[in-house]
């Protein structure tokens, strides 16, 4: 695999009790890219994320990061190898403070074991300081440093999503999987996030794969988009190519009926799909 590819996914599939949730999914994420993964509800997008991050083991195929094969490994091993994610349904450490959420993730990059911790060895003290320092900087970048001591579960929704991203970045990832990062945000917040996500690549040197339903955002910032429906990849290409692809339109809107009782001129203007 070439040195420029951060993540290589080859033909992964998984079936749950006879139902194939993901079929022959392949993708290559180059270094520093920003790719999108879209599809109608229930298409299997989050399942792909779960396959990549080790929550599920693929029935077939392989996933590689750099020289290492990561399919079949446990989630924490994959995270340490450099793949981080956010969750569609937000999974914060609710009772912990905003800062502690991030520090927990940053802490995986320390080397001190139990004894060094219990006896507060100089290495441990240095590492804890480093963890706190980096965590605060991350909160800064995501604009939530002022909430550092608040309990994370009491944060407003948009800030919770930012915290998830800060936490994922704390693990020093090479690949970042964002699962609906702007879901539920208002237009203003979405504008901010747009710029932020794009800047992450330079600031942190990560390759980003994004699941989103906000087509505007996806078409705007993603370099390449993969569309899946019922677990099958139905299109892959640049935003322009995807927008014009009939298979994609069909997947989202359905095939128009031959005998539509409402004449075209009388149909209501179609709503923006989100």
């Amino acid at each position: 695999m070439s040195a420029n590819i951060a993540l290589s996914i080859q033909n992964i599939s998984i079936a749950f009790g006879g139902l194939k949730a993901v079929s022959e999914f392949s993708m290559e994420l180059p270094r520093g890219c920003l790719y999108g993964l879209i599809g109608p509800n229930g298409a299997g997008k989050t399942t792909v994320f779960n396959l990549l991050t080790g929550v599920y083991k693929p029935d077939t195929g392989s996933v590689g990061m750099g020289k290492m094969r990561i399919d079949g490994k446990k989630p924490n091993q994959i995270a340490r190898a450099g793949m981080a994610r956010t969750f569609q349904n937000i999974r914060l450490f609710g009772e912990l403070s905003v800062l502690d959420n991030v520090r927990t993730a940053a802490g995986i990059r320390t080397r001190s074991g139990l004894f060094r911790t219990l006896f507060r060895s100089p290495l441990h003290v240095a590492e804890e300081r480093a963890v706190t320092e980096r965590s605060l900087e991350l909160l800064d970048v995501l604009g939530i440093r002022h909430r550092r001591d608040e309990q994370s579960k009491s944060l407003p929704y948009g800030d919770q999503r930012r915290l998830e991203i800060a936490r994922a970045l704390a693990t020093e990832p090479k690949v970042l999987l964002l699962d609906e990062p702007v879901a539920g945000m208002n237009t203003q917040e979405k504008m901010e996030m747009r710029g932020l996500i794009q800047s992450l690549r330079e600031q942190f040197g990560v390759s980003i794969l994004l699941i989103e339903h906000d087509m505007g955002l996806v078409m705007d910032i993603c370099e390449q988009i993969t569309v899946i429906d019922h677990g099958v990849t139905i299109a892959k290409g640049s935003p322009k190519e995807i927008q014009g692809n009939p298979a994609v339109i069909e997947a989202y809107l359905g095939v128009p009926d031959e005998e539509d009782p409402i004449p075209a001129a009388d149909r209501a203007p179609s709503e923006e799909t989100n």
């Binding site: 450490f93 804890e128 994922a168």
Partner: protein
């Protein structure tokens, strides 16, 4: 942005200062324990001194359980099993060892004399054996879901009790004891009658040294990356895994840590009571400890101290209502779960609560 490891070199503390800060709390602990033993104990009279000692042991036991149940949010209800194992190991060493090496069954030597050193060795041995057992039990079972883990730890506690009851009888005749090696005597732990005539080495000093040491270590653990891993496991195990935390390993380490201190606690318990009865250290004892952790506050160190104090002192004060003690506990448990499930303190320490900050603010305001 710089990685964590890239920053470490620049943030290293002055080694002398760091080592000093590391050791000072332990020195203070030993000094405080000494003061309690030599001054507070005699000052409050024998009855209250015993209560104080019981509180200390309860703090040690509940504090260690807190690391597993409170920090990591796991449901272990077999803590008494570790106490029993630790107690047996320590008693084996001090009782048979005393006969072999000091020629007596009584306590031997003065402060920090041979006898007490043997006792300290026994406590540590008890802790180590309990910790090893913790690895054995924890590794396979900490993968299980909460309610299943509860049953397995319960079962483990019962298995230890049963095994204790089928050990060989304890010879009390010194001549008979001397004829056998320590190794041969390893299974003579008293069987169903229990192990008795254990020399009474436990004093306020030893109890509070161990209790304070545990409190210091528990505090340091909580406010560290390793501790946050445990709290994360409790909050959202799936997210913790996704963030790189080896959740099984974290849980096992917590389990082994707590088992060690339970073993030490068991040893202190045995050498205070003078006897070790497997039936006494079964399910009910484990539940007693769980009650302290739940009511005091799952995850709060100050909560544990509070809980241990209340739950040891109250029954002594209301002795005449002994019949109703467990009923009151039971109702308290149900009420707490319905009305304030996080316990009195929750996961916060006393100094983190808003009440404390308010009082502190008023105090500072008044001082001006």
């Amino acid at each position: 942005m710089k990685s964590v490891q890239e920053r470490v070199a620049a943030l290293r503390p002055n080694p002398a200062v760091s080592i000093g800060q590391s050791i000072v709390p332990f020195v203070v602990a030993i000094a405080l324990a000494f003061l309690i033993d030599k001054f507070v104990g005699p000052a409050i009279g024998a009855t209250w001194a015993k209560i104080l000692l019981d509180v200390g042991i309860a703090i040690l036991l509940a504090g260690s359980l807190n690391v597993v149940n409170g920090y990591a949010g796991q449901f272990s209800i077999g803590h008494a099993g570790f106490m029993l194992v630790g107690g047996y190991a320590a008693a084996w060493l001090t009782f048979y060892g005393s006969v072999h090496w000091f020629g007596t069954k009584e306590t031997y030597g003065g402060f920090l004399g041979d006898g007490q050193l043997l006792f300290v060795g026994g406590c540590i041995l008890g802790g180590i054996i309990a910790a090893l057992l913790g690895v054995l039990v924890g590794l396979p079972s900490l993968r299980l879901r909460g309610d299943y883990l509860a049953i397995v730890t319960l079962g483990f506690g019962e298995i230890v009790r049963v095994l204790g009851q089928i050990t060989d009888r304890q010879p009390k005749n010194m001549k008979v004891i001397k004829e056998q090696t320590m190794g041969e005597l390893a299974n003579n732990l008293g069987g169903a009658e229990g192990f008795s005539q254990i020399p009474g080495y436990t004093t306020l000093f030893f109890v509070y040294v161990m209790a304070f040491v545990l409190l210091v270590l528990a505090y340091r653990l909580k406010y560290s990356s390793k501790g946050r891993e445990l709290l994360a496991v409790r909050e959202n195990e799936i997210a913790a895994e996704a963030m790189g935390v080896d959740t099984t390993r974290a849980k096992v380490v917590a389990f082994v840590f707590s088992a060690f201190f339970a073993g030490v606690g068991g040893s202190l318990y045995a050498h205070q009571l003078g006897a070790l009865d497997p039936k006494e250290l079964g399910f009910m004892k484990s539940i007693d400890l769980v009650i302290i952790v739940v009511i005091g506050g799952m995850g709060s160190i100050t909560g544990i101290v509070l809980g241990a104090t209340i739950l040891v002192v109250l029954p002594e004060v209301f002795r005449s209502f002994a019949d109703y003690r467990m009923i009151v506990y039971a109702l308290a448990l149900v009420m707490v779960m319905i009305l304030r499930p996080q316990g009195i303190m929750g996961v916060q320490e006393l100094w983190e609560t808003s009440l404390w900050r308010k009082l502190l603010g008023k105090f500072r305001g008044a001082a001006k």
